[in-house]
Symmetry: C2
C-alpha cells in the first residue's frame, strides 16, 4: 500500500522541530577549552576598564599647564624624575616642571593631567630632561578608568558563541573558567542496500556512501559531536534493535535514506516500534520533501530522517538538523542568515513547492548575485562543492528569470535568531 503523506510548509516544519529542542546541560570549562562553545552564563565586568587612568602610549606624564607657552621657538624643558614600566605604579607625584616617563598601559602618576607621546619630545641630558615644543592640552592621551566598561556591567548574555573577541573579554574579566553548554552527541546511521563504503570499488547498481561523510562535517560545523554508527542491515528487527542501542548513546540521531514511500524504506516502522511521535514526514519543498522528523516523548530525543539522495540530505540537514543542534547547544543565532540577491540565470522550471537551490552567491558592485550551481537535480553531488548558499524560490506556477530578486540563505554566515523565508 502506498502511504499518502500530507506535506506541511517549511516554516511549520521548522517550528515543530524548534518546539522539541532538548537543551543540553551546562558544564564548566577552562577558558581555552571554550572556543566555539556557547555561553551558558551571562558575563559581567568584575572591574572598570580601564581599571585605572592610564597611558595609551609610551611617553611622559606631565602637568599640561607647564606647556601653555611652549612653541617651536620657545620649548619648555621638564625634569624627568622617574621612569616606570607598564605594570609599575609611580613612586612620585608629578610637580610643576617635572615629568615621569611612562610606558603604554601604565597608570597615570599622581599630579599629572596629560601624557605627551614619546615621539614628539626631545630627550636631553641622557634622558634626565625633556624638551616639548608645543602646547599639550589638559587630559590629552589619557584613557580614563571605566571609560570602556564599568564594573558590574553586563557584557554578554548567555547563548552567545565564544569567538576570539569573546575570549578576550572573558580573559580581561577573570573568567579562567566559564560555563558553556555541552556539545550534543549526534548519532549518524546510513541506510540503503545500494551503499558501498568509500574504500570499496564500484560494482554495478551500487554507489559509494557520501552522505555519512558529508553529514559528519555538517554536524561538526553546527557545533555537534558526530558519532557514525555505519549502516543499518536490511532487516527490520535487527535495524530496530540497532537504532534503539544507538539512541542510548547519543543526544539526537540522524539517519540518511529509508524515508521514502518504497516498501524497503522501513524507518517509519522503526519510529512506530520506538514509540516515536512523527512530527512530519513530508515537507512542501524540493529537494528533501520526504524529510522526516520524529520525537521520543520519554527521553526527549529527536530523530532526523533525511533523504538518501545527497542534495536532499544536505538541504534537510541545513534547514532542520543544523538549527536543532545549535539550539540544543543554547545558541541564539541558530538559523541561516539570509540576504536578498539578484538571480544571474533564468530558472524557468516552475514548481508548486518551495525550491532550495544550491547556489553560489557573490557580492559585486553593491549587490548580492546568486548563481545556481550545477543542474538542479537532487542527485547531483558535485554541485554541492561550490555552493555557499541555498537560494529560495517560492513555489508557484511560473519560473524565475535572470534579474529577479531572490532570497539566499548563507551557508557560512554568522547565523540569525529568526528563521526567514
Amino acid at each position: 500500500m502506498v502511504e499518502r503523506r500530507k506535506p506541511i510548509s517549511v516554516q511549520e516544519a521548522v517550528s515543530k522541530v524548534m518546539n522539541h529542542v532538548h537543551l543540553m546541560p551546562e558544564e564548566i570549562v577552562s577558558i581555552d577549552d571554550s572556543d566555539d562553545g556557547v555561553l551558558a552564563e551571562d558575563i559581567y565586568a568584575d572591574h572598570d576598564v580601564p581599571p585605572f587612568n592610564r597611558s595609551p602610549y609610551d611617553g611622559f606624564a606631565i602637568i599640561a599647564e607647564d606647556t601653555s607657552h611652549a612653541s617651536r621657538e620657545n620649548p619648555v624643558t621638564l625634569e624627568v624624575i622617574e621612569e616606570i614600566g607598564a605594570g609599575d605604579v609611580a613612586q612620585n607625584s608629578v610637580g610643576h616642571g617635572q615629568a615621569i616617563r611612562i610606558m603604554t598601559g601604565a597608570a597615570l602618576p599622581k599630579g599629572a593631567n596629560a601624557i605627551v607621546m614619546l615621539e614628539i619630545v626631545h630627550e636631553k641630558n641622557d634622558g634626565k630632561k625633556i624638551e616639548i615644543k608645543r602646547h599639550i592640552k589638559k587630559f590629552d592621551n589619557i584613557s580614563w578608568q571605566g571609560e570602556d566598561t564599568e564594573k558590574g556591567a553586563l557584557l554578554l548574555e548567555k547563548g552567545h558563541h565564544v569567538t576570539p573577541g569573546v575570549k578576550a573579554v572573558l580573559a580581561t574579566f577573570g573568567y579562567a573558567k566559564v560555563k558553556v553548554y555541552k556539545q550534543p552527541v549526534i548519532g549518524i546511521i546510513a541506510t540503503g542496500s545500494e551503499l558501498l563504503n568509500v574504500s570499496e570499488p564500484l560494482v554495478p547498481g551500487k554507489i559509494r556512501n557520501s552522505n555519512a561523510h558529508m553529514i559528519i562535517s555538517q554536524v561538526k560545523q553546527a557545533g555537534g559531536m558526530p558519532k557514525y554508527f555505519g549502516q543499518l542491515k536490511d532487516d527490520l528487527e535487527q535495524s530496530f534493535q540497532g537504532v534503539k542501542k544507538v539512541l542510548s548513546e547519543v543526544d539526537a540521531l540522524i539517519t540518511t535514506g529509508g524515508v521514502s514511500v518504497g516498501d524497503f524504506d522501513y524507518l517509519p516502522d522503526i519510529y512506530q516500534k520506538l514509540g516515536a511521535e512523527v512530527l512530519f514526514n513530508k515537507v512542501g519543498m524540493r529537494p528533501g520533501s520526504v524529510t522526516t522528523v520524529a520525537y521520543l516523548p520519554d527521553s526527549g530525543k529527536i530523530l532526523f530522517g533525511l533523504s538518501g539522495n545527497p542534495s536532499s540530505c544536505f538541504v534537510g540537514f541545513e534547514l532542520f538538523a543544523g538549527p536543532y543542534i545549535k539550539a540544543s547547544q543554547g545558541l541564539n543565532n541558530k538559523f541561516l542568515d539570509n540576504v536578498e540577491a539578484t538571480l544571474t540565470h533564468d530558472f524557468p522550471k516552475p514548481n508548486p513547492f518551495n525550491r532550495f537551490v544550491r547556489s553560489r552567491v557573490t557580492f559585486e558592485n553593491g549587490y548580492w548575485h546568486s548563481q545556481p550551481v550545477g543542474l538542479d537535480k537532487s542527485n547531483i553531488v558535485t554541485s554541492l562543492i561550490g555552493a555557499n548558499a541555498l537560494m529560495v524560490l517560492p513555489g508557484g506556477t511560473r519560473g524565475y528569470q535572470k534579474g529577479d530578486k531572490v532570497k539566499a540563505l548563507l551557508l557560512n554566515g554568522e547565523g540569525s535568531e529568526q528563521f526567514c523565508l
Copy 2:
C-alpha cells in the same frame, strides 16, 4: 634614542608577508580527519555520475510506448515481473506489457525506457499488476549515466577547503584517504610586565592578559594549531633564549606586545640577535601601526610582532597573521572577503592613516550597513564582542559621514583570493 620608523602601506605590508610564505608539507589523512583541512591534490572523478542510468524515484521501470493511449478512462495494465532494491540489478528485461518495480537509485533495467513514480500508479493483485492512467513520456524520470560528471573530470583543484560538500565529493569518488597540507603550529608568546594571568586578582597598574587567549582562538579559526608558551621575562638574554627555543618547536611565532618604541620593548633587539630580517615595523594604519613582521632566512620561519593593545593585536592578526597561516596551509582564499556597506553613523575624526574600525555589518533592504562598535579607542576590549567586520576608512584630512559608502572586511566570510582595500 627614539627610533624613527618609516611606515609602509597596508597593501605593501601584506605583499611582503605573502612573499615570505613557507608552504607546509603535505600529509595523507583519512577522509574523516580532513574536515576544515586544505586539499593538497587535485580531485578527479573515478567514475561517471551517475555510474549507470538509474531511477531518481521509487517506481516502476516500463516501456513508455505501452502507455501511449493510457488515460483516466482507459488505464493500461502492466504485469510486474520483478522487484529490485536500490543496490540490486534486475535479472530480467522489461518487455511490452511488463514492468519492474524499482527503488530510488536502482539501475534502469534492460528494455525499459522510462520510470513511472510509485505515487501515480494503482497496484492490483497484491502488487502483481499495476494500472497507469496517463501517458508516460520516453526517458521520463531517468538519471543518465555521466549526466552529472564524467569519469576523469577534474572536480576540485588543490587549495580548496574541505567543506561538507567537498567531503561528499571525496566519498563519492573513493577518496578514503586524501592529501592535505599539514596545519602549521603557531607559537604564541605574550610580553608585558603589566600582564596578569586570567586567574589572578587585579592589582594596581596591572591588567589581565587577554591577547593570548584571543590569539589562540584566532589561530584556530585561521586553521593553525596554537601553542601558547606564556610570557617572556623582562630580561633580554633570557627572552632571547626563550624565543630561540620556541622557534625550534613551531612553524611561525606570534608575540603580543614589546614592539612599540619604548625602551622596555626589546623585541627589535631579539630580532637582531636572531638574525631576522625585519620586513616592516611600522604600517600606515590605525590601530596596529607598530605591527612588526620579521623573517628568518635560514629556517624560513616568520615572526609576527603584534601590538600589546587588544584592538591593535586583533587587527594586526586579521590583516597579516591570519592570511599568512591560511596561505602556509595552501588555502587559496586566504584574505578577508570584502563588501561595500553604508555607514550608519558619522565618524568625524579625520586621520592621516587608513583606519580599520571594528564594526557590525548587517544586511537590510538589499544593502549592507556598517556600524562602528564601541568607541574607536584602540584599548577597548569589549568593542570586539559584537564586531563581525573591519570597516576600512582610508586616511585623509576629512572624517566620514552617515550614508557614506565604505568597504568592510568580513571576519566570518568564506575568504577571498585577493587582498582588497
